[in-house]
Symmetry: C2
Subunit: 251 residues, 2 copies
């Protein structure tokens, strides 16, 4: 049996009771090497591998899971840019016939929303800017369509040292949209959400673009960016997207 | 101090350790009356009120929080269609100057994704079809823009006994888009996710529209619907949106 377990940001306080209980029950745990520190406390045999070894790791976990109970650990939620879909695909492709159960975890968008205030409190989208597996033209088309729909946008994997173009093009599109509609969209930037070195900045699209180099030094692969909709505002230093109660009932 | 606490679907196994610890520490708990059963076990004084009493409830919690530690409980995540933004807004409007901290919880989209397979494993959006606080034309414009961007769509509050029009119009738009692109989008329907009476159906947009009356009897306000993108498929009875590893590395 393979349990695919989301552990949120990794610190114990964000584990669900279900994740805690499953990780205590399994025979061994498989994860990305960077997450070993979060699951050591379960005192189980651990198999790790590095970045871009996702297929190897999942394949190993599936093979082991044929006659043992294995937990494949993802940070955040395993079905949100995590290892869940790849596990189902490989299980099918290689005819392993392993039973799979996904244990949900807190995804970064939830945590960042709480850290910034409540920017996700109305319709929103989650998009990754990594063009490693998705062509850049599709990413940019998606960003455009979200702006047309005036969604709040949670951006995962915004920028890495070797991958700057998607970020630059995406934020140029956002600023153009913002200007054309006489807006200055609120932008929240959260680093290491839910981890010991968590920090954040709150700004606007114009300020971000005016100080682009400085912000690009700040933002990394452990950063999630939330771009507000036209309704998102800053209230007492918190980034808030109203649900609409006050407008409707207390005008 | 006001803690705004997301408890996921409510069953103990989905609480984070942080939510558990905060609810054990506060002086009293405020929540929608339907959720009282989920927080009784903390043995705290509880204040509840009903549907459409959101402003009263939040205002009561804020006033109490001036000199006590209060937890305002939302199901799911408090910043995702929950009470967080309203709390910040009322705190500011009424000059309560209460300190507020949001404790993240599992939102329905995460749970439903795990129940169905891994449909949210690529870019997705979350949208509510309730036109109580959002005009229907904005909702439909948003659905249209998501289809243009080929997003996976998680739909909250799809249908109630007195509110059928947004559902009908939204799914008509989805079917038209699907047909125009020679697709038959996969649709997952989850009722009471993470609760004792959890159940789900997996179908396609064409089957849903062909059997509309039957599905509309099934779907209610405790249902979340996930509409796949053009890449979403069913593998061994699971709804999967590939992240793209296999296409890239094992073609």
């Amino acid at each position: 049996m393979l349990y695919i377990v989301g552990i949120g940001p990794g610190n114990k306080e964000y584990f669900t009771e279900q994740a805690e209980s499953v990780l205590n029950s399994v025979d061994s745990i498989v994860c990305y090497k960077g997450y070993e520190k979060f699951i050591k406390r379960f005192n189980k045999p651990i198999y790790t591998s590095g970045m871009k070894k996702e297929i190897d790791r999942v394949d190993y976990a599936l093979k082991e899971a044929k006659n043992k109970n294995i937990a494949l650990v993802s940070s955040g939620d395993a079905t949100i840019y995590g290892m869940a879909s790849l596990s189902y695909e490989l299980n099918n492709k290689n005819n392993y016939n392993v039973d799979i159960e996904v244990i949900s975890g807190l995804t970064s968008a939830s945590l960042c929303s709480a850290i910034l205030g409540a920017p996700l409190n109305h319709d929103f989208a989650v998009i990754s800017l990594s063009d490693l597996l998705t062509p850049l033209d599709i990413i940019l088309k998606r960003v455009n369509s979200l702006l047309m729909g005036d969604f709040v946008i949670a951006i995962y994997n915004p920028l890495s040292k070797s991958r700057k173009e998607p970020f630059l093009k995406c934020f140029e599109i956002i600023q153009n949209h913002s200007k054309q509609n006489n807006l200055n969209l609120v932008v929240g930037i959260v680093k290491n959400a839910g981890r010991d070195n968590e920090e954040y900045k709150m700004t606007t699209i114009n300020d971000l673009m005016d100080n682009l180099e400085e912000y690009m030094k700040y933002i990394d692969m452990n950063t999630t960016i939330i771009v507000g909709s036209s309704n998102t505002k800053i209230i007492n230093n918190k980034m808030i997207t109203p649900r609409g109660y006050l407008n409707k009932y207390l005008k």
